[in-house]
Every structure is written in C-alpha cells, then in structure tokens.
Symmetry: C2
C-alpha cells in the first residue's frame, strides 16, 4: 500500500493517506469538511478544490469547462489521491460562486447504451439478378428472395405506397438498392428502398415528450453514436401548463386535434434543427422511439385523454400501436415506424417505463426507489423480483408554475440561494450568471431550506411575523406584505433582469409544500403498504429532467426527499430520453421495456385510505414527525 | 329396376326406359336427335321439350322462367324419367326461338360456396365490466380480455384511427359494443366497433374486376347468402379497350392515378347501388375480396403496370398486400381489409387463381383443361397433382372490340345466327328479343360457323368471291364490297335498332380467327410441351363471363375449342367472381387460393419457339390440319 502526503491550503493542515483515497475523505481526516450535496455524484460542483501541486486520478465529468480543468479545479468527491498533493480549499462563498460557473456549462447527461446494439431497423445493400423470360418472378418476389438470403426472414411485407414505387425504383438503380428493414414483428417489413447505395448514415431518433420540454437525440443506428441532441419547449404549453389543464383543453371542440398538431410541430421543428445542423436529411431517419407520460403519449397519437382525468382514471390504452410516421405527419421517412414506450397506468407513463429500464432498477438486487420529479412526481419501488409504482399529483410548482416568480431551469433562473442568518440577506446563484429573471425548482428548494434554516418560515410554511415585525422599521425589508400576502424578496428590482422584485410568497411556499408533501406521502404510503422501513432502501435513483438540478442536502431539509445517507442517492439525468435511446438501439431493450410495463404493479393513491393522512403529515417542513428526518437539525429542536 | 314408357310427339314414337333415364337419351333410343350444344349443362336451352303428361325428376335451373316451367317446358339434357311420360319435341326453328326466350331471362350462375363458412371477419357482441379504481385496466386491455375470452385469440390489434374513438365509443354505449374482427393473420384485428348491437347484417362483397365489366356480389357474411348482385362497365374502358391499351395509358403522366380513380369510382357506384337497393349501408360492408387479372389488380392498387407489358413481362407483385378500404378510398367501413386474390404471372392473374379454385380443378383426379376466355384467354391444364398455365394474347374480339358491329353480350346483341344454305339468308336471335344493335361473342362464333358451313367463308377466312358473284345481280345481296372490304350483312338497317346495316367484314373475321387461333395454339403448345394427347383431357372447364354464352358445337366448328365430346365440356359461369365469393366466405378457401397461385407453373408462350408455328397452323377454319377436328364435316372433305 503506497502512502501519500496531502496538504490542504489555506489552513496548511496535512495528512498521510493511502493511494486512491477520495480527496473529501482525506480532507475529513484533516478536519476539513467539504459539502457534497449531490451525494458524491460529481454533479453539483459544491466540492470543487484546486490542485496546486501533484497528481489526482483521472475522472470524467461533463460539468467542468476546459478552462476550469486547466486551472487545476477538481471535483473532490470523485478525484482520488495519486501522489503527494497540495490542495487549496476555497471558502464557502467561493464554493457557491464556483458551483454557479459549473451550472452555466452544465450539459444533460448523455444517454448510455446498456444493451446489445440491435436496432429494429437495419439497412442492407442488395443486388438483384435482372429478370428474364426464363426467370420471371415478380419484382416483389425477387426482392423477397434477396432479403431472405441475406437475413433469413422469409416473410417480407411493405406498405402499399412503397410497393407503388417498387418497379421504377429497382429499374432506375439497375437492380441495386439500399433497403431499410424493420424486423420487429416476426417478419421483415421493408420501410425504405433507395436506388443504389445510401450515402447518409441510417438515422434514428429518440424523443422524450415532456409536458414542459421535448428533448430529442438524433442517433446513428449503425453505431449508436449520438449525432446531435436538442430540446424545445412543448408548444402545447400554450394550451395549459400541466397535464390536467392540457386534458381540459383537449375536451374543447377540436382540442385533441389542436394539441396533437402542436406536439407534431414541436417535434418536426426539433428534427429539422437536429438534422440541419449536421447537414443530414430528416427523411434519412428510419426509426423513432418516443417516451412520454400517458397523457402526452395519448396526445401525440391523437388519442383523447379525457378519461385519464376522470375517476377511475382510465387511459385508452397503455400499449401503443406501432404507427407509421406518415400517419402522424412526422417528417421522417413516411414509412418508418414510430414506437411509443408502453405505460403502466394513467399517471405512470412510458417515461417511467423508460426510466426503470434506463435506471436498471428492474435487474437490481438492491431494494431501489426510483423517483421522477417533473410536472408530476412518479415513484417506483422494487428490485429485480418485484416493482410497484404510484403517481403523486405533485403539480408543476418545481417547474415554475403556480409560483409567482417561477421559471424553468434555463438562463436567468435563480438555482441556488444562501441566506445570511443575521441579516436575512440572500446570496443567489443564477444560471448563466446573468441578472436573475425568476427562480427555478432547485432555487425554490434551496430558498425554502434556507428560509426554514434562518427562521423566516416556520414548519407550517408561514413567513414569521416575529421576524417580519423585527425588521418592519426598515423600508427596504426583505420580508413584507405584498399584493398576495406576506413575501420574501430574493432580489430587488434594481438587480433583477425583469426590472421587478423577485419574491417568494407564502402562497408560493404553500404550493411548494403541497408538491413536496405529495411526493413524500407517496413514498411513505408505498413503504407502509409493503411493510418496508425507509432504512431498507438501498438506493434512490433520481431521473427526469428536474432531478438533474436537485440539491440533496436541501431537498432533505425541506422534506422533499427521504432522509437517507447522501451516498444512497444517484442522479441519472433524463432517464425518459435514455430509456427511449436504449429501445431505439436494441430490440432486447424494447422487449424488456414491455416486460417492465407489464410487471409493475400500480398503486392508486387516491384509492388508498392512508394517503390523505400521510399527505397532511408531510405538509410541514420537513414533516409533522421530525423523527423521520434525524439528520436535520429540526429533529433535535 | 322400374321401367317407364315415354312417348314422343309429334312422331308418336315411344320407348320403354329405366327410371332415371335422361330424356335426351330416351329420345335417342326412339331415334329422335335432340341437340345439346352446351354439353348437357342445361344452359343453352336448345334441348327444351314440353311434358304433356307424367312426371320428370325435379332439377334446378336458373334459366327457365316461372311461366315456362308452368307451361311444362323442361331441359331434356337434365330432366330424368320419373314415370310414364308423353313429351312434345318442338321443331328445330321452334327450339331456336325457345332458346332465345331463355336468353332473355338468363341470369349469371350464382356463385356456390364449396368451403366451410368461415369468413376472415366475424362480429361479436361484447359487454365489458365498467372500470373502477380497483379494476383500472385501460379501455384497450379491457376490450382485449373480453375478445380473448370469447374467441381465444390473445393478440388484439386495431388501427390508430379506431383507437382514437375507442374511449368515447365504449362509454357512449355503456360498455356494450358490436365488434368486427379479422382473424386472418394469427392475430385478432379489430376493424370496427359499433356502440350497442349491430342492427344490419354483417356484409361482405366479392368483386370480379374484368377489363370490360366489373361484377359485384353483396353477401351476408353470417350465412353466405347473396343479398344482391350487379355489374357495371369498367369506367377505365374510356382509356382503352384491352389490357395493353390500359397499360399504355397508365404510362402517361398521372395515368396510373387516373385509371385507379376510375376503377375505384366504378366499384363505389356499384356498391352504392347494391346496398341502396336493399336499404343497407355500404359502411356495413366489413370485408372485400377482389379477383382480377394482374394488370387490373395492379391498377386497383395503383401499382404501375408498365413492366407487365414489356418483355420479360414482370408484375410488381403477384401476392398483393392486404390493404384497408381507406387506403384505396373504397367506401365501405374504412378499416375493413381488402384482399386481392394472388396472381400467377403477368398474364395469369387472380381471376385465374379464383377460377381454378372455383372450378375445383386443383383437387380433381381427372386431367382437366380450364379455359377463361375474356379480353384475354387464359388456359390451365392439370389436376390435383400438378397445374400449368399460359396466357394467349387473344385480344378482345369476342368482347366486341375490333369487330365493326361488335358489342358486349347485353340486350340488343345478336347472340345466335342460323344461315339458310340455299338463300344465304340469316336468322338471328337477339338478347332481349329486340331489334339488334350489334353482335356479341357467341353471335360471332355462331355467325362464323354458319358462314363456314354455308361456304360464305373459306378455311382461310376469305369471304368467297364465287358466292358473292353468284348473287351479284341482286341489289340487296348479303355479300358485298363495303367500305372496309368484303362483308356479309347480318341485318338490314330497316330491321336493326341502330338504323344501319349490321355486318361482319373480312377484317372482323380475320380478328376473330387471330383470337381463336391464339387460344387453340396455347392449348396445343401446352399439351405438346407435356407430351399429352388431346384425347387424354377428361374435362374442359369453361369459366369467365364470356364462357357462359358459348355454343360448344359452333365453337368447335370454327376451331376455337378443341374437338372433344360435348359431354366433356362444363360451363362454370363467372369463375372469377365465384372464387372471390368463396374466399370472402372461407379462410380455408383463401389459403387454398394462395396454394394454387404458388403451385401453378407458368408457361411463357412468347418464350416457346413452337408457339408461332402453332398459331399459324391454327389460323384457319377450323385448323390447317383438319384431322384435329374429326367431328366436323371439314375433316371428311
């Protein structure tokens, strides 16, 4: 065992540790605490330290910029000792600022292929013998023989529209053609036939249709390489912010058609951008896989979602038919198939099936909790033997809706807040380091945790009069009575990008509490139903777009996440997209997704008579029973 | 063995015969010859006799009118002795007149179901349990379970457009529905869902798309009963009379689309008529089966037929995809499937597959010759062990095209001609007993046979100058030099329905000879190829619309049909329609049709170096080698 000396600046304390010791652990040995709110996932940037001298192990992080790496910044929760070191630890305010820089360069986690590369669609180059009076099989029979001899599937089908072009195409290319073949359904379905050799790569696209955002990955099907990735606001947002308001809109005359048109348009524009940026043609996209919640998938397929909203919450279908792009007016190869990941129930959709697939929960020996916190909150508990899911109508507070200054996690959003416990003055970190425009989900969690910590709000979510009156003499008091009741000013109009104060009102706080309570109550009901103590959970897998930005420390402080050791938490990024990406590239993954959807037992919280009690109990900060949150200081109080 | 006495009037001759003797045989025993040109099929009506006293066996004939039956007329080629009888035999002229009356009441032979009733589409009435919070399966899953429990097929599919209406339909009908299910492809495909119980019968339609005529049978799928039947001129005729001219038309810009539009329109109008006459809705038609030649089927599916025309004569496909009515804009239930009978080759189409199915040749022990003489002539030779087919580009002469006064076999067409050998004056029989408008195929065969018999034409088809000059002094001579060469006048303008002479020119005769020679040469080449003597043929099965009207005696006389005993010939009516009808009503029949199409070996006459010689040899009346026609008097001369 090789030992190395690690010296920490500015204190000058040093320790001797074995090679391979993680730097935060070395620091702890030296009595220096470095926070790791993301659970040592290397994602929040709060543990950044600078290597002044010596070597740490190499590691991958999509978060640090090249400049930061050159300056010697390392994530101390991941980097390990590889030699004698001199390390400079920044002060807390410096750390917050650094983490802010990381946020501006933050990219979505790239999907990762966990399955053998075996997309449903493949291409073949075929050369057919020209027909003669002696060899006068039909064009289709000739093609069928050539394909059967290459891939061994005898039964060939193709759409009438492709068949209408077959005789010309084969002759125009002198009996040489590139064909795209979908072998998904026990038969070879020809989805494209191009004269001669195809010059462009065979492309596929994986899409996450979120209620708020739509993300698409353009993929080279022959290698699995992500050619391009982009996201866009779901244009349906104009017809309602959350799932319920979309469904209500769909019930107006022509509503389903209009919402379907909007999501189609969103996707077509996204595809055009993805392909255009790489000089590719969208018509070379030969396969598409979509993951979305049940309502979004219904609207994508123009299935009316009405009964998803009405008790007993019944979708038209949970297994969606394979449809052609032409049927949906999606501008890829019109004969290409679009596959939508199967749903479990009205509020546990294909995005969750994709999430369970991508999180690998379905094959884990560990008792795992999968959380997808987006416009809704969905929870899956289980392991390789069993899985149970429920949905909490969390509401879109964390996505910015129902919060006076709420906004999505884009440039200009306050994503972290620190409040000075003496002055009650906040320090905010803004995505893109610009004057703030509003506050996003992670900012709200952070603000709420700090307000609770500094006594600005009490356990019930009331902004405390005591604090308020104590400062009432000051005209520019951060705590004041606003138009909508008592509020706390996060940013004065003079400093904001909107020219108006950015505030968090008591109403906002109540919304946030309702949302976090719904999720926590869902977890509790499910655990009690199964008779499993919280501490048995071996890993918490956090998916969904919003999951990427959560600060675990603060999320536990407000009682959104259960109080488990940080190292049990893993952030998986956009698991909906990642699941769709895996299904796009692997027929085995598709089969597994279908198994997952069938295997998950759905727990209807509304039908559970303990849910309302648990919801009430969770509607405090962090919880009525602070014994559930032993790591927080509220437990001691 | 019971014996009965049969007396024949007016001669008064009588014989004693066993019970069950066919009347023509009893007459023969009495030395009285009764002609049976249709080969004892009870179809031509030339053998009609009147029962004055006593009883004959009951038999079915679609040809005799109720009045004729009440008057005691019976078909002596079918009716059998069932007691002592007194029978009046009409004179030859009377017989011709009687047969004419039959022609006016003649109906197409009704298709007959030879298979177990098992249509691909069936209907079920289902009642679903309403969903609840405890039983919250999706609408589609609920439907799937109900159907699986009724018919045992687990895998249910449906079109997206039907699924888009599913949630509303089920709720509107209080969870009771009538569904139409197609079980053709190893899965249950839901093609319709109607709230509550269906009030109309479940309908199907069988269609024969002929180059000239389109015939449709509207069928009650639950019983096989033909609800209504009608035919219409194929509107494509405006773009060319025969297959080749249609293909040429299709090669113009937009030609395929236009021809497709015309056949779609023809069928839609026919369906509206069929349904309307019975107060049914075409939307209740849940299944459609189509038989047509390869080019017609291509145009029906908007597949370009170009390469059917060009050597080496390759169709796009011979097995046609199952398509929805919506795709083809056929106005039945838009989600109903349309099945086209598979073809064998470019010139042996689904109509021939249907013909072989309907003729039962495919399961006969007898060496059989199947002939379909329509716009083209197709020939199938074989039995239950093997089958070979070829096509003769016969041309549409027998359908009236390329013949100056030619017309289809409809009201006003001369369908039989007798020429007095002394005066050379013709007697004509006209369909509908109206003043003649033209001459149809059977009339042409009859006229040509009589002209040959009376010496008006010689073996080479020339109208003889000798005869002509012999009568040249007579101004109203039947034989004269017309605008297009020598011609024979069948009907003077004064007696015709058109106000113009109805003639048969030497050019017409050459066209007819080319056509009949092509068919006969095809038969000869195929027999020689297989080394089978003509006399080995045990039965000649004649299908196709035109086949219904052929007079065997005269068709042999001109060398169109091979010189075989009359009793070997059977007229099967519209075998294309009948095959489609069987496939419509029986999945086993569909499977058999597919086997037939695969099993038939195609002989390409163009590629056969003996065909041109045989064609030349057959281009005489009846043939260069009259030894082939021993039964005709030309053999002796």
């Amino acid at each position: 065992m090789t030992l190395f000396k690690v010296e920490f600046l500015p204190s000058g304390k040093s320790v001797v540790v074995p090679q391979g010791t993680v730097i935060v652990d070395a620091a702890a040995k030296a009595g220096i605490t470095i926070d790791t709110p993301c659970g040592r996932q290397g994602r929040c940037g709060r543990c950044l330290v600078k290597v002044k001298k010596g070597q740490v192990t190499e590691y991958e992080s999509p978060y640090l910029s090249t400049k930061q790496i050159q300056q010697g910044w390392v994530l101390s929760c991941i980097a390990k000792v590889a030699g004698d070191l001199v390390i400079s630890v920044p002060s807390k305010p410096e750390q917050v600022k650094l983490a802010g820089e990381i946020a501006t360069t933050r990219k979505a986690l790239a999907p990762h292929l966990d399955w053998p590369l075996s997309p449903a669609v493949r291409q073949l180059f075929i050369e057919l013998p020209a027909p003669s009076l002696e060899d006068n099989a039909s064009d289709f029979d000739r093609l069928k023989s050539a394909i059967a001899s290459k891939i061994g599937v005898e039964n060939l089908t193709m759409s009438l529209s492709l068949m209408q072009k077959l005789s010309q195409s084969l002759r125009a290319s002198n009996w040489q053609a590139n064909v795209a073949i979908d072998t998904r359904n026990r038969e070879a379905h020809l989805s494209n036939l191009l004269p001669g050799r195809r010059k462009q790569p065979l492309l596929g696209v994986a899409i996450d249709i979120g209620t708020t955002n739509v993300v698409a990955s353009l993929v080279d099907l022959s290698s699995g390489r992500i050619v391009n990735q982009a996201s866009a606001l779901n244009k349906q947002a104009a017809c309602g912010e959350d799932v319920i308001s979309r469904i209500v809109y769909s019930e107006h005359r022509g509503g389903v058609k209009q919402l379907n048109r909007l999501i189609t348009q969103t996707i077509n524009e996204l595809l055009a951008k993805l392909a255009g940026e790489n000089n590719l043609k969208t018509s070379d996209i030969e396969q598409m896989v979509v993951a979305g919640n049940t309502a979004m998938t219904h609207l994508f397929l123009a299935l009316p979602p009405t009964y998803i909203r009405q008790e007993p919450y019944i979708p038209t279908t949970a297994q969606f038919p394979l449809v052609t792009a032409k049927e949906l007016r999606i501008k890829i190869n019109p004969n290409a198939f679009i596959y939508c990941l199967p749903a479990v129930a009205a509020y546990v959709g294909g995005d969750i099936t994709a999430g369970v697939l991508s999180s690998q929960l379905f094959k884990s020996d560990k008792l795992s909790l999968f959380l997808d916190i987006g416009t809704n909150g969905e929870i899956v508990l289980g392991n390789s033997d069993w899985m149970m899911a429920c949905a909490c109508s969390a509401g879109p507070a964390f996505e910015g809706a129902g919060v006076s200054c709420g906004m999505p996690a884009t440039i200009g959003a306050i994503e972290d807040v620190t409040i000075n416990s003496n002055t009650l003055e906040p320090t905010v970190r803004v995505i893109g380091d610009t004057p703030p425009l509003g506050i996003c989900g992670s900012g709200m969690i952070s603000a709420l945790a700090e307000m609770l910590d500094t006594g600005i709000v009490d356990k019930a979510g009331h902004i405390l009069k005591a604090v308020s009156s104590q400062q009432s003499a000051v005209s520019d008091s951060r705590i004041r009575l606003g138009e909508h009741g008592t509020e706390y000013v996060l940013c004065w109009a003079a400093d904001s990008g909107t020219g108006e104060d950015i505030v968090l009102t008591e109403v906002d706080i109540n919304n946030l509490i309702r949302t976090k309570a719904a999720i926590y109550a869902g977890i509790t009901v499910m655990l009690k139903k199964l008779g499993i103590p919280l501490s048995d959970i071996e890993q918490v897998l956090i998916g969904g777009a919003f999951g990427q930005h959560i600060n675990i420390e603060k999320a536990i402080q407000i009682g959104l996440l259960p109080d488990l050791p940080w190292e049990k938490f893993q952030f998986l990024g956009n698991t909906s997209l990642s699941g769709a990406y895996n299904v796009l590239l692997s027929q085995q993954a598709q089969q597994q997704a279908e198994k997952i959807a069938r295997k998950i037992t759905y727990l209807e919280l509304i039908a559970d008579n303990t849910f309302m009690n648990e919801l009430t109990a969770a509607s405090f900060l962090p919880h009525t029973d602070s014994a559930n949150f032993p790591s927080t200081k509220y437990h001691k109080s």
